[in-house]
Point group: C2
Chain length 221, copies 2
């Protein structure tokens, strides 16, 4: 995770201020575009002086990384707290509950999720890796849940990683395709229906239609 | 579909030039951002004078609609040509083949797909409806295929519209999450695995777990 420079030594205050910066900056950037806003205008929206803002960040670019880190930490902390509460439940219940929990996080922080996915396409490769790593933590979480289910014989997925990735894609779709989905579904309906689709695939019986068993291609990185 | 103003009466030439404009403009806009490029610079990248460019468009904004219409027409024409070739095949084969065809279109025109999804979030509501309508043609196409399968008793989907929507979401994921997916899969592997997930859900047996049958919420628009 990229470290963002600060001159302050009061960690709690820095975190509190940074969360405030993240919230307001995301609103402003979504409204006006990252390239159309400068640090002076951002500081003004935050009710701070430009110098005051530079107390908490090293450059305008740092704001992007604050937003990316904030979104990632928030999601991972919530999933991890949730995992503790779910101990002892069946794999299927854990997966169902944690998908609902994750979809709710995405709904509550949809601006952040949309922003990260939006900005991703225009980031240089080295910086994409920051987002990639952050998101991998969520994919890993689901992959592990699914792998546990496979080990217990409850699931028989051919590819736990792609099934885990699909959960993230479906959550992102709720965030950035709300203009379509919210016309037809409530979040609960969408979550239940998608969870059902995921589980019916994971529970499927072995393929009988002659398609080859997939092996992931050799990983490049 | 929004009509784009031209002063030329030679339809073929206008279309040919507009396709050229779409291709170059998409590259430029993705590289530099829509707000950071003006029509003079676009004309220059196209090897045209600004006046020459205004022969084919009425405003800079028109370029957005050219790109949206181009992407939508291309996809729909291809799916429709494909549907003609597939007559007589089983519902499942039609669905499998047309998903492969669609994923290939998205792969070949991924810049356009990413651009449309990217710009969508910052369009005013009235203009979003243009993208929404264009994309609805693709969703309708799949919904109909799935509904045919349900009518024939091959599929037992609870919600053909969401299943159709998921196909679009999975194709978009290939376009804008290539940074993750291409590390692990070839397009063919991704397509086969996702098609399998979609079909295993459509073929599922009736729910036994007591979740309520979903009814779409009342449509607002």
């Amino acid at each position: 995770m990229r470290k963002v420079r600060t001159f302050s030594s009061d960690t709690d205050l820095v975190n509190q201020r940074r969360n405030h910066i993240v919230k307001i900056a995301t609103e402003q950037i979504i409204k006006r575009g990252y390239n159309n806003i400068n640090t002076r205008e951002l500081a003004s929206a935050l009710g701070m002086s430009t110098g005051g803002l530079y107390h908490y960040i090293g450059s305008k670019e740092d704001i992007l990384y604050l937003i990316i880190n904030f979104t990632s930490d928030l999601t991972c902390q919530s999933l991890s707290r949730f995992a503790d509460e779910e101990k002892g439940k069946s794999c299927e219940d854990k997966l169902r509950d944690s998908i609902r929990n994750y979809f709710e996080i995405v709904e509550n922080y949809r601006d952040f999720h949309n922003f990260v996915n939006h900005i991703m396409l225009s980031l240089p490769v080295k910086d994409r890796k920051i987002v990639y790593k952050a998101e991998s933590r969520v994919i890993d979480y689901y992959e592990e849940l699914i792998a546990d289910g496979i080990a217990e014989g409850v699931f028989e997925a051919q590819d736990a990683r792609l099934a885990a990735h699909n959960i993230i894609v479906m959550a992102n779709a709720w965030a950035n395709r709300g203009w379509f989905l919210k016309k037809h579904y409530t979040l609960r309906e969408y979550t239940d229906e998608q969870t059902d689709a995921i589980l019916s695939h994971l529970r499927r019986s072995p393929k009988k239609n002659g398609h080859k068993q997939l092996q992931p291609v050799k990983q490049k990185a």
